[in-house]
C-alpha cells in the first residue's frame, strides 16, 4: 500500500516521509526558538532576540522544506528553472504580497520601529507587538490589536516616541495679573527640583512666555526618562496647580468686568464715568 503511486513517480511512502520531514522541521524550529528565547532572555533586547529567533526559525523550516521536496523528487535546480517562469506569473498575481515581503525585509534592516516601541504609524498609535515578514502588529492603547501590512508601514510617516532615552513635555500655566510671576516660577522650579524623574539635565525651563488676555502665562518645559514621561506628564500639572494655590497664587480664568455708571458710588476703585452732556 505504501508503494502506491500518488502522483508521477511519487509513492505514498515518499509523500509521508516528505511530510514528516517538513513537520519535524517545524517542530525543531519551534524547539530552537524556545531555547534561543530562553538563552537570550535578559541578555539582549526583546527586539533583537525576536529577529534572531525568526531568522533561525525560517532557516530551519526552509531547509526542511527543501529536503522534503527533494524526497518527493522535486530538485532545487529544477525548482529554480520552473521558478523563473512561475515567478513571473506569481509576481503579477501577488504584487501586494511581494511588496509587503520586501518592505518587511527593509523594515528589519532599517529598523525604524522595534518590538515594544510606542509608535504612531499613519493614524494608529500603540505599542509594536510584532514585526513579521508580511505585516506588523500594533496593540493600541484601547487594548485592541491592529495588523498593518508592511508596505503601508514602510511608506507611512512613522513617529517613534521611544527612540530617544528622554522626552520633553510642556504646560502653559496661566496665573492672575495681580499674582507674583517670579514667586510662581520659584514654586514651580522647586516642585520640579523635588521630582526625581524631572531630569536635572537637560535643564527644565520655567518662564513667562505670554501676557495673555486674561492671564500671565508661565511656560513649563520638563524632560523626563522616556519610560516615566507619561506618568509624570499626567500628574505634574495638577501638582503645580495645588502648589501655586497653597502659596496664594491662583490659576486665572477668562473674566470680564462690566460696570455701570451709577455703580461708581458703591466702589471707589472703579473709574469715574462722566455722563455725556446733553446739548
Amino acid at each position: 500500500m505504501l508503494n502506491t503511486i500518488v502522483w508521477g513517480k511519487v509513492t505514498l511512502l515518499r509523500l509521508i516521509i516528505a511530510l514528516a520531514i517538513f513537520i519535524i522541521s517545524i517542530i525543531i524550529s519551534k524547539i530552537l526558538s524556545l531555547n534561543v528565547r530562553r538563552a537570550l532572555k535578559n541578555k539582549t533586547s526583546k527586539d533583537s532576540m525576536e529577529v534572531v529567533v525568526k531568522a533561525i526559525s525560517y532557516l530551519v523550516i526552509i531547509i526542511g522544506l527543501i529536503w522534503a521536496l527533494s524526497v518527493i523528487g522535486l530538485k532545487l535546480s529544477g525548482l529554480l528553472v520552473a521558478g523563473g517562469i512561475i515567478s513571473i506569473i506569481i509576481g503579477f498575481a501577488s504584487q501586494s504580497i511581494v511588496g509587503n515581503l520586501v518592505s518587511g525585509v527593509f523594515l528589519m534592516i532599517e529598523r525604524p520601529i522595534r518590538i515594544g516601541n510606542t509608535v504612531n504609524i499613519g493614524d494608529i498609535t500603540g505599542i509594536v507587538e510584532d514585526i513579521r515578514i508580511i505585516s506588523t502588529t500594533i496593540r493600541t492603547f484601547d487594548g485592541y490589536q491592529v495588523r498593518i501590512p508592511n508596505e503601508e508601514v514602510f511608506t507611512a510617516n512613522i513617529s517613534n516616541y521611544v527612540t530617544n532615552v528622554v522626552r520633553r513635555f510642556e504646560y502653559d500655566v496661566g496665573i492672575r495679573y495681580n499674582d507674583d510671576a517670579d514667586k510662581a516660577i520659584t514654586i514651580i522650579k522647586e516642585l520640579i527640583y523635588n521630582e526625581p524623574f524631572a531630569l536635572k539635565n537637560p535643564e527644565p525651563l520655567v518662564w513667562v512666555n505670554d501676557l495673555g488676555d486674561n492671564s500671565v502665562n508661565v511656560n513649563v518645559k520638563i524632560w523626563a526618562p522616556v519610560s516615566e514621561w507619561w506618568a509624570l506628564k499626567t500628574n505634574m500639572l495638577w501638582r503645580i496647580k495645588k502648589a501655586l494655590e497653597l502659596q496664594g497664587i491662583e490659576i486665572a480664568f477668562p473674566q470680564r468686568i462690566v460696570w455701570f455708571g451709577d455703580q461708581r458710588q458703591d466702589n471707589d476703585s472703579l473709574p469715574i464715568i462722566k455722563p455725556e452732556k446733553e446739548d
Binding site: T163, N164, V165, P202, W223, P225
Partner: protein, 236 residues
C-alpha cells in the same frame, strides 16, 4: 542597623524601623520609614535570616538606570600625566536580603534620601543616570552611613595636556561597597583619555580591615554582567 538577623527581630534607627514578627502563617515583615505608610510583606519560611546592608543607589523610586553620575561642586583641572586621589560622597540605599541555606534574594530596598535623575550626553545617544551633587574632600568626610557613602576616587590624566572634569559616571555592575557601622566605602577610578573621554571603573581594594563587603543587589538578581567599566564619551 547593618548586619545579619535571625527572624523574628525588631530594629529601629532614627526614622527607620524594621520589625519581623511571627504570625500563624509564617512571618510578617513590616518596615516603617518616617511618616510614610508601613510597608508589609509576608515570609513563608520556617527558618530564614535577613541581611541588611548598603546597596547601589539605583533602585529608588524605580530602577530605570544602571549608572550613577556624581557632579562635583567645583571643577577639577588636572595636569598632564598626573594621578591624584580624593574623596567624594555618593548616595546609598539600604538593601534587605532574605536567605536560607538554599538561596538568597533581594527582599526590600529602602532609601532615606530623595533621588534625582539626569541625562548624560544628548537625548539621542545619551544615558539616563542617577544624579548626585557632591563636594570633594582631601580626607574622609563624616556622613550618615544610612544615607551616604564615601567614594575613594583616583583620577589619572593619561593625556599629554591639561584636562578639566566636573563629573564622573559609574557603572552599577562594578560597585562594590565596603561597610561598617560608621562608614560605607566605594573605590573608583577615572582614566582621562582626552578632553571629552574617560574610562571609569569601580575596583576592590587589596584589604580593608574592619569593613565587610556588602551583598550586591545586581549579583543577587542573577544578571549576567558584561562589563564593570563605563566609557564617558560625552564630556567630562
Amino acid at each position: 542597623m547593618y548586619g545579619t538577623y535571625d527572624v523574628p527581630f525588631s530594629i529601629k534607627e532614627k526614622e527607620l524601623s524594621i520589625d519581623v514578627s511571627k504570625t500563624d502563617y509564617g512571618f510578617l515583615y513590616a518596615r516603617k520609614l518616617a511618616d510614610k505608610p508601613v510597608f508589609e510583606k509576608i515570609i513563608l519560611s520556617e527558618k530564614s535570616r535577613i541581611i541588611i546592608n548598603p546597596v547601589e543607589p539605583l533602585n529608588h523610586p524605580k530602577h530605570i538606570t544602571n549608572y550613577l553620575l556624581l557632579e562635583f561642586d567645583k571643577k577639577i583641572s588636572i595636569a598632564p600625566h598626573k594621578e591624584q586621589s580624593f574623596y567624594a560622597t555618593f548616595p546609598i540605599e539600604i538593601g534587605v536580603f532574605i536567605f536560607t541555606r538554599q538561596d538568597f534574594a533581594p527582599f526590600d530596598d529602602i532609601s532615606l534620601i530623595p533621588a534625582k535623575y539626569s541625562l548624560y550626553g544628548d537625548p539621542r545617544i545619551g544615558i539616563v543616570t542617577r544624579y548626585y551633587a557632591t563636594s570633594i574632600y582631601a580626607d574622609i568626610p563624616e556622613v550618615d552611613p544610612l544615607q551616604q557613602g564615601v567614594v575613594h576616587l583616583t583620577i589619572k590624566n593619561s593625556d599629554s595636556q591639561w584636562n578639566t572634569i566636573s563629573r564622573i559616571v559609574l557603572n552599577a555592575y562594578g560597585m562594590k561597597l565596603y561597610f561598617n557601622e560608621k562608614l560605607v566605602q566605594l573605590f573608583a577610578s577615572m582614566k582621562i583619555i582626552n578632553e571629552i573621554t574617560a574610562e571609569t571603573d569601580c575596583y576592590a581594594p587589596h584589604s580593608e580591615k574592619g569593613f565587610r563587603k556588602a551583598m550586591e543587589l545586581y549579583k543577587s538578581r542573577k544578571l549576567s554582567i558584561l562589563s564593570t567599566k563605563f566609557v564617558m564619551m560625552e564630556g567630562l
